[in-house]
């Protein structure tokens, strides 16, 4: 029996760093009825005080659908004391009512100068051969360096948490230059997924499709915290519809409406887009396209369980519900993990998004 330290009500058994593997092995040996499942290594990084406990609860929910080895990382770079502590536990769920399926979790708390040992300490405990997914919470800190991101297969972040998205996206772009295998996922982009799917479904209708060249007004309503999500949605619209930036109109608009963006469609028709921040709105509350007598809209009323998809044209009206994107970060992450893929569409719209972001901030 190895020497164990104290038990944490959420994080489990505290263990010596040097004996993590042995303790994990013992954890499994205690109960042979459980099945250990893991498809990915999921590291969750946070510098927020109290994040380890909160993330442990999040992982408990996430592992219902995504079997993983979870590595929780809590960092306090400013602490005077240098220390590394670790806890192990397992999140178990009944699969189909009978089999107990469990996922391991190792939580690390690093303080002071010990944060420099993050890579060697934490990443020594990966489940070999499985992909490495890192969910970075909050601002990108100096720890997000080449030595760190060089190990990552998928990097998940939430641009809604950034004070300066332009600067942070610049660092992400640099990281992608160095670590070309790394796939990036912005949870802000994931928050508009069903909005995009719904709009695409509406444009399967030939009436909407034929009206696309005539669309000249776009309105996006979003929560004030989700400006990036709204701007990414606009960038996606512009890229997919083939709209060019309309700088002159944009400048003209800037004086009268801070939320205005202008484009020019392939036929030279000006398209004006407006972003409206509404504290009552869902993350992305509405996407409305208008042109002539045609309106194509997708709305997510705050608190509603379904999107409203609507197409209106003379003599032609259609309305249908669509699924909404989840709200809680863990659920958004879960959906994103289910979709997988290389996120090519996001990479495709990223340059346009960056231009829109820069344009807005330059004003």
């Amino acid at each position: 029996m190895s020497e164990t330290l104290e038990m944490h009500p959420e994080l489990g058994r505290e263990v010596e760093i040097g004996s993590i593997d042995r303790e994990l092995h013992q954890l499994w040996a205690e109960d042979e009825a459980r099945t250990n499942a893991s498809l990915i290594n999921l590291a969750v990084y946070s510098e927020r005080p109290g994040a380890l406990e909160e993330n442990s609860r999040t992982i408990r929910e996430l592992t219902r659908e995504h079997a993983c080895r979870a590595l929780l990382i809590g960092i306090d770079r400013d602490a005077g004391k240098t220390s590394i502590r670790a806890w192990i536990t397992a999140h178990c769920h009944l699969s189909h009512g009978h089999k107990s399926v469990c996922c391991e979790q190792i939580a690390f708390a690093l303080t002071g100068r010990a944060t420099g040992r993050l890579r060697n300490t934490v990443f020594a405990h990966l489940n070999s051969d499985l992909p490495m997914v890192v969910w970075w919470q909050g601002e990108l800190s100096p720890i997000f360096s080449e030595r760190f991101h060089g190990l990552i297969d998928r990097f998940v972040f939430d641009s809604a948490e950034w004070r300066d998205p332009r600067e942070s996206f610049g660092r992400i772009e640099e990281a992608m230059e160095h670590s070309r295998q790394m796939i990036i996922h912005d949870l802000a982009w994931s928050r508009s997924h069903q909005m995009r799917v719904s709009l695409a479904a509406l444009f399967d209708d030939p009436v909407a499709q034929a009206a696309l060249p005539a669309i000249d007004r776009v309105e996006i309503v979003h929560h004030p915290d989700q400006h990036c999500a709204a701007l990414q949605l606009l960038a996606w619209l512009a890229v997919q519809a083939g709209w060019r930036d309309g700088l002159e109109l944009d400048l003209a608009l800037s004086g009268e409406s801070r939320g205005g963006y202008s484009f020019e469609n392939q036929g030279g028709v000006p398209v004006v887009a407006t972003l409206k921040a509404d504290p009552q709105s869902a993350a992305v509350g509405a996407l409305v396209l208008r042109g002539g007598e045609v309106t194509v809209e997708v709305r997510h009323e705050a608190g509603a369980r379904f999107l409203t998809r609507r197409l209106e044209a003379p003599g032609h009206a259609m309305e249908a519900p669509g699924p909404v994107d989840p709200v809680a970060p863990a659920e958004v992450l879960g959906e994103q993990l289910s979709r997988g893929g290389r996120n090519r569409l996001f990479l495709k719209i990223l340059p346009r998004f960056m231009r829109l972001l820069a344009g807005r901030e330059d004003r």
Partner: protein, 523 residues
């Protein structure tokens, strides 16, 4: 104005679809279900469409029109569907989604043989198209009893419903059984092809919509370690088992006693699985690319075309009274709606040989039966043993060879049996199992087979549907066996074996494999 839009949109693509779904895009259409008051519609088809709506996969503008003989209003039809959807829907029943979904469901009463009913159907579909606007795509789902298939298809043609307007499509999905022998299948194919083009005909086999069946091609062709071993040099035998613990409950004896295990399951589901296991890599993943390779397997099946060959390679059986799941159950001939002198098999075991370079000399064994100990469908690939020069009898010998098992249902997954040294100072070998469970690894439930297949039909992707030649080749093989069982004089017919309900089948089926030095895998 609307017509103008339709013309303009004809050659456009939807730019917003890119990268949002990695599958062909289903198109808005009206789904007309023949046999709309039946169990399949209530338990499978409408819940499948509802679940697609919940997941946002159903294109907006899809309408459902139930066609059946009973007198019902739209409201009555909807109420019946709602009652069952509450019980069987995979994702539960949400009032809000159902409230919107059900507005698109209508009922059309007509006899299947009434020409006037189809004219009224055509008018109603035109009316729906006018109301909905956009394209007038139609998907006809023939889920009625098989004796009405001909009538339905002929009348669709007479009413002009088989033809589509420019820029639209008209497709038909035909449920099993697709014929009862080669002649009836050929006749039905002729009727179908007189009515719909082959590219617009979707013969459904719901086994192909199951996740593991779809995963078979991925397993074989996306993993470099398997394909080099997937041939007669490394594989000793392959077994396909489909066991059911149920018997003839719920009045199914009436249908089953006319069909039997061979026609009900082997001709379609199990030969389809065999095709996926044995086929060559297709040139691409197009529907015909895959089906071209599958049909080659069926064409390469060695034909058991004499009663002697059937007797040597096929075992038929019936269960006698016994116990299943701790309950006493009657014998097959004592079951409800079964002829007390029935010569219909409730169990069948076959040895098949695929005469291709790849599979030369490798037996494929198929067994299917009712009232076996448990419900399970799986494919097991048994590899040849390595030379025993190292681990000879002196060390206890090799405890069996490698077996790769692909579980279709329940508990979909894949396992690999390997040999390992037992811990200790002596050299003792034991089999160990590496096991992958879909449900354990992916917490999210898979869509029902019908969801995937309906969506594919709306998207025009026929990969997971049987083509005419596949169906006919399968019947060609099955027909020889049926003839040996039923058309030759009684004293020359292969015997009907008996086994106790709740056991793994008759002794004769064990002997079939024992003659080759093999044994059925223990499930």
């Amino acid at each position: 104005m609307r017509g103008d839009w339709r013309n303009r949109a004809e050659h456009m693509t939807n730019p917003f679809r890119e990268d949002l779904v990695s599958r062909s895009t289903p198109e808005p259409c009206t789904v007309v279900i023949f046999g709309a008051t039946g169990d399949l519609t209530h338990r499978k088809l409408v819940p499948a469409l509802y679940n697609l709506a919940v997941d946002g996969e159903l294109p907006p503008g899809v309408k459902i029109l139930g066609f059946a003989r009973r007198d019902k209003s739209d409201e009555e039809f909807r109420t019946g569907l709602e009652d069952l959807n509450r019980k069987v829907s995979r994702s539960g029943h949400d009032e809000e989604v159902w409230g919107s979904f059900v507005q698109n469901i209508h009922y059309h009463r007509s006899e299947f043989g009434d020409a006037d009913g189809y004219k009224r159907l055509a008018e109603r579909l035109d009316e729906i198209d006018r109301e909905r606007g956009g394209k007038g795509n139609r998907l006809f789902y023939v889920a009625s009893a098989p004796e009405f298939f001909d009538d339905i298809l002929e009348h669709l043609k007479d009413a002009g419903l088989n033809a589509c307007r420019e820029g639209c499509w008209s497709r038909v999905i035909v449920e099993k059984p697709f014929g009862t022998d080669l002649a009836t299948a050929q006749h039905l194919n002729e009727v179908v092809n007189r009515t719909f083009e082959e590219k617009d005909t979707y013969r459904i086999d719901h086994y192909l919509g199951k996740e593991t069946a779809q995963n078979l091609m991925v397993l074989r062709f996306a993993n470099a370690i398997f394909e080099p071993l997937w041939n007669h040099r490394f594989i000793d035998q392959i077994q396909i088992t489909c066991s059911e613990n149920l018997g003839m409950e719920g009045g199914r004896g009436g249908y089953y006693d006319k069909s039997g295990a061979l026609r009900d399951m082997v001709q379609n589901h199990l030969l389809q699985l065999l095709s996926l296991v044995a086929m060559e890599p297709p040139t691409d993943l197009s529907a015909d690319g895959v089906r071209d390779e599958k049909v080659k397997v069926l064409r390469s099946l060695r034909q058991w075309d004499t009663p002697e060959k059937v007797a040597d390679n096929v075992v038929r059986g019936q269960y006698v009274a016994g116990h299943v799941d701790g309950r006493s159950v009657p014998g097959y001939r004592e079951e409800d709606r079964v002829d007390p002198e029935s010569m219909t098999e409730s169990y069948v075991a076959l040895r098949l040989l695929v005469d291709t370079w790849r599979w030369s000399g490798v037996p494929f064994y198929i067994r299917m039966g009712k009232r076996l100990p448990k419900k399970a469908t799986e494919i097991s690939v048994h590899f040849k043993s390595p030379p025993d020069v190292l681990f000879s009898a002196a060390h206890g010998g090799l405890p069996g060879s490698n077996v790769l098992v692909i579980r279709i249902q329940p508990d979909e997954g894949i396992s690999l049996r390997m040999v390992s040294k037992m811990p200790g100072t002596s050299l003792r070998l034991e089999p160990v199992k590496m096991d992958f469970h879909y449900a354990t690894s992916f917490g999210k439930s898979s869509p029902e087979a019908y969801e995937r297949l309906l969506l594919d039909a709306m998207a025009g992707d026929a990969t997971l549907f049987a083509r005419r030649d596949e169906v006919e080749e399968a019947w060609r093989f099955i027909d020889h066996i049926e003839r040996a069982w039923h058309d030759v004089p009684g004293d020359q017919q292969p015997a009907m074996a008996e086994f106790v309900a709740g056991s793994w089948g008759p002794k004769e089926a064990d002997d079939l494999l024992r003659a080759d030095g093999h044994a059925w895998r223990r499930l």
